[in-house]
Symmetry: C2
Subunit: 251 residues, 2 copies
């Protein structure tokens, strides 16, 4: 008899931002699968088997999880943030679609999580304020010209833009190119935020402008938020400013 | 001495999707402020004062919360979903920016929540799969031609699109107009989902196509998800299909 598979968003890092549903699913699992640094966030429990894996092997990891499920295990697949946002949920369903027909009968649950963009926004104030989008800068799975085109259209639309997968060894220059491209459409004083490891002990936030932003401020764990022409800083005595995007756009 | 103000995202409805940080902040509050149906989701506690308000009075509600905070109260302002996504966080910071200078010294915390779009996506599979955007269809605060323009650019960019504030008495025809406009760019068989009251007892999900979608499927509480040309259904024996958007886009 087959088991169950639960695809879990752990949230950005702090246990206070991991939902009760996610915590319960982690406790009930016989097997934990995920990128090793994310698994490290889950408390150790007896009688659970951990299968840490490397980055960038999402489909292999998905198939491994589905084989274990079919063999009767209760599998938890963990992602940071939300499992459906540039994370494991899509890889699991891709594996199911192209896998054996029996996988379509498996008991699959997805538990959403607090995404990095929402955690970062909450720390800053309310920068997402109105319409927004999320774009991955990785060209592992889509052509770079398409990323450039989406950035251009998003800036033209006036979306607040959250950039995921901003930097890696394999693509050291993408973020710099993205910032240059956005500067062709957006004003130089558009607020830009580098948000790293939000809610974790090594949390770092840098608030700057498009003209002054430097791609070197980002590492593999950094989410970059690009404001709009309407996004505003509120200065505060003795503290970092708040950042928010008004709900209204003038005619 | 002034108090504290915490702007809280309750998540989509079920307590299993409300974070421990949000629950702790609700317990610590002396005063609860929010749209009445959202306040109704918070368990009653002795010694707490509730200030339920009507819809569409966000700025009045924000100023009321800030006055109470300045007077020493510990105020929790509640939103459904995430507080920063078409919800109260932006209204609070707008009130602070245009209010007395003393409000800039207040102790303000924002606690993120599981947004409706992530809760709906998790129920369906992984429809957000790659780049996506969120657009409010309300023209209370921005001109309708701008909404139309953003819809057009988002479809052109190939974003999965989450539509918020899809229907109300004041704008019964916007959703129909949006669906017609999107059909000019997207293929007729593009998956469309009407997701209502996700994780609540009256949850309803309708999966259809752009060609067959009817605005009447939405009410005030309905999030509408529009897929891309890549979004796929996975048929299952005896159950609703899974919906996912592959992570990859062919060149």
């Amino acid at each position: 008899m087959s088991g169950t598979i639960t695809i879990i968003g752990l949230g950005p890092g702090s246990s206070g931002l991991c939902t009760p549903d996610a915590t319960a699913a982690l406790e009930a699992a016989s097997d934990l699968i995920g990128y090793a640094p994310y698994l490290d966030r889950v408390p150790e429990r007896p009688h659970q088997t951990r299968h840490p894996s490397d980055n960038r092997v999402e489909l292999d990891r998905a198939r491994h999880a589905l084989h274990l499920t079919e063999a009767g295990h209760h599998v938890a697949v963990v992602s940071s943030g939300d499992a459906g946002v540039f994370a494991m949920a899509s890889a699991i369903f891709e594996a199911i679609e192209h896998g054996p027909a029996s996988w379509r009968s498996l008991d699959v649950t997805v538990i959403p999580g607090i995404s990095a963009m929402f955690a970062a926004a909450a720390r800053l104030g309310a920068p997402l304020g109105h319409d927004f989008c999320a774009i991955s800068l990785s060209d592992n799975l889509k052509p770079w010209p398409l990323v450039r085109r989406r950035l251009h259209l998003a800036a033209d639309a006036g979306f607040v833009i959250a950039l995921y997968n901003t930097r890696s060894q394999a693509r050291p220059h993408h973020l710099a190119e993205a910032l240059t491209l956005l500067a062709e459409t957006l004003p130089p004083d558009t607020p830009v935020v580098f948000a790293t490891a939000i809610s974790r002990p090594d949390e770092q936030i840098e608030i700057t402008t498009l003209a002054e932003s430097r791609a070197e401020s980002a590492d593999m764990r950094t989410l970059v938020l690009i404001g709009t022409a309407q996004t505003r800083l509120i200065d505060r005595p003795g503290q970092a400013p708040w950042l928010y995007t008004p709900r209204s756009v003038p005619a």
